[in-house]
């Protein structure tokens, strides 16, 4: 099947007074229709910047330095805002991590959803738009939608704001949905309902989703594949099973070990030692080396390539080189216990 999205060797930088911040470094991946790819990784490692660069929503300080972005067979890397405006709504929709900034505080929630409906169904009658908005609000679990249609975002709790954002995103029936922490502000029962709702819509419409999340429970529920990012690079990518049951990169091991779900009562939680590197001047070797108990001498010298573990599973760590010493992952029995 043809790839819906193909990102090749993408690098994105910000020009700042202190110098060039290399937020995304040489990232490649692809995505098929109907697939959910989760991106996980340290705060500040470039997940949001990567998503925004694909949608071409970066601020003017940002620059795509190299690489290409191909959507539905069209190379949009050099597209300007004028070209994107026509395309964006048809291809992309988004749900961001912060519902308050995603919603316009001066417009009622109902009219914001209505606006999204109208953009994609120009010429729809007023009444039909209203009915569609109410249906979307019901779909995302906003009770008493007719009463709440005329309320402003500040009337809503965090969870309900995010449901409104979901309704707006779903109004356009996009090809790719970018969901940046879509369920963090929801209670776990609604969280699971929204994830299942996403899944359903996905199956029915063939929407592909790029999900950014820190919640490895959420990712386990809906991701088909997972990309692990560190300091602007994808350091491991594979199916959900491969990443959870057979992780290969020491950074992925660290993430799994830090989960409170598996912590022992009374003992401090495991944390990955040290801090992420400065993206102003990333180290020349493996950016994770100085925090990695398994680092080899070569890690400080040379960036590891993506080693193949299986047809779907790749990891950028010198531990996978055939000359590397064999190490046992610190996770018990391949499971993240």
């Amino acid at each position: 099947m043809a790839e819906l999205l193909e990102v090749k060797n993408l690098s994105v930088s910000f020009e700042t007074a202190q110098g060039e911040i290399q937020a995304v470094r040489d990232v490649s991946f692809s995505l098929k229709s109907g697939e959910v790819l989760a991106i996980i990784g340290e705060s500040g490692c470039g997940k949001s910047v990567l998503c925004k660069s694909i949608m071409k929503l970066l601020c003017n300080k940002a620059r795509i330095k190299s690489g290409s972005i191909t959507v539905d067979g069209v190379d949009i890397t050099r597209y300007r805002e004028r070209d994107m405006q026509k395309l964006r709504g048809r291809l992309f929709s988004m749900v961001f991590q912060d519902p308050m900034t995603a919603l316009n505080p001066t417009m009622t929630v109902g009219s914001q959803i209505a606006e999204a409906v109208r953009v994609h169904h120009p010429g729809m009658s007023r009444d039909a738009v209203y009915q569609r908005v109410i249906a979307l609000m019901e779909l995302v679990g906003i009770e008493r939608p007719d009463e709440r249609y005329g309320l402003y975002p500040y009337h809503f709790s965090g969870g309900m704001r995010q449901r409104s954002v979901m309704a707006i995103a779903l109004a356009s029936a996009p090809k790719i949905l970018f969901a940046d922490e879509p369920t963090t502000s929801l209670d776990v029962t609604i969280q699971a309902q929204i994830l299942d709702l996403l899944r359903d819509i996905q199956r029915k419409l063939g929407t592909a989703t790029i999900l950014v999340s820190h919640d490895l429970g959420v990712v386990a529920r809906i991701a088909d594949r997972i990309a692990v990012m560190y300091a602007g690079k994808i350091v491991e990518i594979g199916t959900a099973e491969e990443i959870y049951y057979d992780p290969r990169h020491p950074y992925t091991w660290g993430l799994m070990m830090a989960l409170p779900a598996y912590a022992k009562a009374g003992e401090p939680l495991y944390t990955i030692p040290g801090m992420p590197p400065n993206l102003l001047d990333p180290p020349k070797g493996d950016a994770f080396a100085c925090r990695n108990a398994y680092a080899l001498a070569i890690d400080y010298e040379e960036m590891p390539p993506m080693f193949k573990v299986s047809d779907t599973h790749y990891a950028a760590t010198w531990l996978l080189d055939e000359r590397a010493p064999k190490v046992t992952p610190p996770l018990r029995g391949g499971r993240n216990v």
Binding site: Q18, I40, G41, E42, S43, G44, S48, Q97, D98, P99, M100, T101, E147, R148, G150, L151, H155, S157, G158, G159, M160, E181, T184, S185, D187, V188, T189, I190, Q191, A192, Q193, H214, D215, L216, G217, V219, A220, R221, A223, A240, E241, Y244, G254, L255, M256, A258, L259, P260, A261, A263, A265, P268, L269, Y270, T271, M275, N278, L280, R335, N336
Partner: protein, 301 residues
């Protein structure tokens, strides 16, 4: 021995939705916090957790009930004015959504130093800037971020700046509304360890609101569960997770996601009958320190 630092009595708050509808966001909620404990408040989205927090921090004036902090009735304007300085320096709040609570035009250093500067607090570590650097370091960010502005930071970094700002005041009591949801698991673990450390070393008291029940189970000493504006259950954390009594608590615990794809995908969502959640009963003690709102007949255990 134990000293009640916060006493919330019959707290009620409502919002007017339209001319004809009001929402009872918080409905007769009572609980106490002992000095040095971490109390978790969990529950439905929209059940009133943030509203409780905002009433406690004097951001809303409650429609009914009383809130005592160190014996001061904070809802009473006269008492509030009399103790304003103490209330402002010893209590801090970390918001669910820090992006909008940070001043976009201030540098990270200024944001962290501001409360200390306003309250004329001389930091133990010398200059305010050195103190800001130390606080930033504690939340896992290095000094290179001191001169940045919030829009130049990632979401998780902004949240950590908000945490550093609140902790810089070395408050006795912290209300943290979803403070770590936007952070990656390793930084989450670091902040949780930091909170535990502040509790153990300095006797900080926390009201910790969160949706991540694995974190709540690990971090909190006691937990209250809210549903539809009411507190439906309150118990020591271990007891609550082992023996949930109220139907809503059971539902909530059954929905905790498991970080394991095969187990998680196989997990069937429980559906529930909202009428089960109707408030039929009274808060009653079902075993030591474990209270649940139960119908008069059906007392479990």
């Amino acid at each position: 021995m134990s000293e009640t630092i916060l006493d919330v009595q019959h707290l009620t708050h409502q919002f007017r939705l339209t001319k004809h509808t009001t929402i009872r966001a918080v409905d007769d909620v009572s609980f106490q916090l002992q000095r040095g404990e971490i109390f978790g408040l969990v529950g439905e989205s929209g059940s009133g957790k943030s509203t409780v927090a905002r009433c406690i921090m004097n951001l809303y004036r409650p429609a009914g009930g009383r809130i005592f902090y160190r014996g001061v009735n904070v809802c009473d304007p006269k008492q509030y004015r009399m103790h304003k300085n103490m209330l402002q320096t010893t209590r801090q709040m970390i918001f669910q959504d820090s992006t909008s609570s940070l001043n976009q035009r201030m540098t990270v250093a200024d944001i962290i130093m501001e409360p200390m500067a306003i309250n004329h607090i001389a930091p133990p570590g010398g200059s305010l800037r050195a103190e800001a650097e130390r606080q930033l370091h504690d939340v896992g960010m290095d000094a290179s971020y001191l001169n940045k502005y919030p829009p130049e930071l990632s979401g998780g970094m902004r949240q950590r700046v908000a945490i550093a700002r609140a902790l810089s005041m070395e408050p006795d009591f912290i209300v943290a509304d979803e403070p770590i949801a936007s952070l990656d698991v390793s930084i989450q673990a670091q902040i949780i360890n930091l909170f535990k450390h502040l509790q153990a070393e300095h006797g900080f008291t926390f009201l910790f609101i969160a949706h991540d029940l694995a974190v709540v189970k690990y971090l909190c000493d006691r937990v209250g569960v809210m549903c539809h504006g009411k507190l439906v259950e309150i118990a020591p954390a271990a007891e609550l997770f082992a023996h949930p009594a109220h139907p809503y608590t059971k539902l909530l615990l059954s929905a905790v996601p498991i970080p394991d794809p095969r187990l998680e995908r196989a997990r069937v969502l429980q559906t529930f009958d909202p009428s089960d959640l109707q408030d039929t009963g009274e808060m009653r003690e079902i075993c030591r320190d474990h209270f649940a709102r139960m119908p008069v007949e059906g007392v479990p255990h």
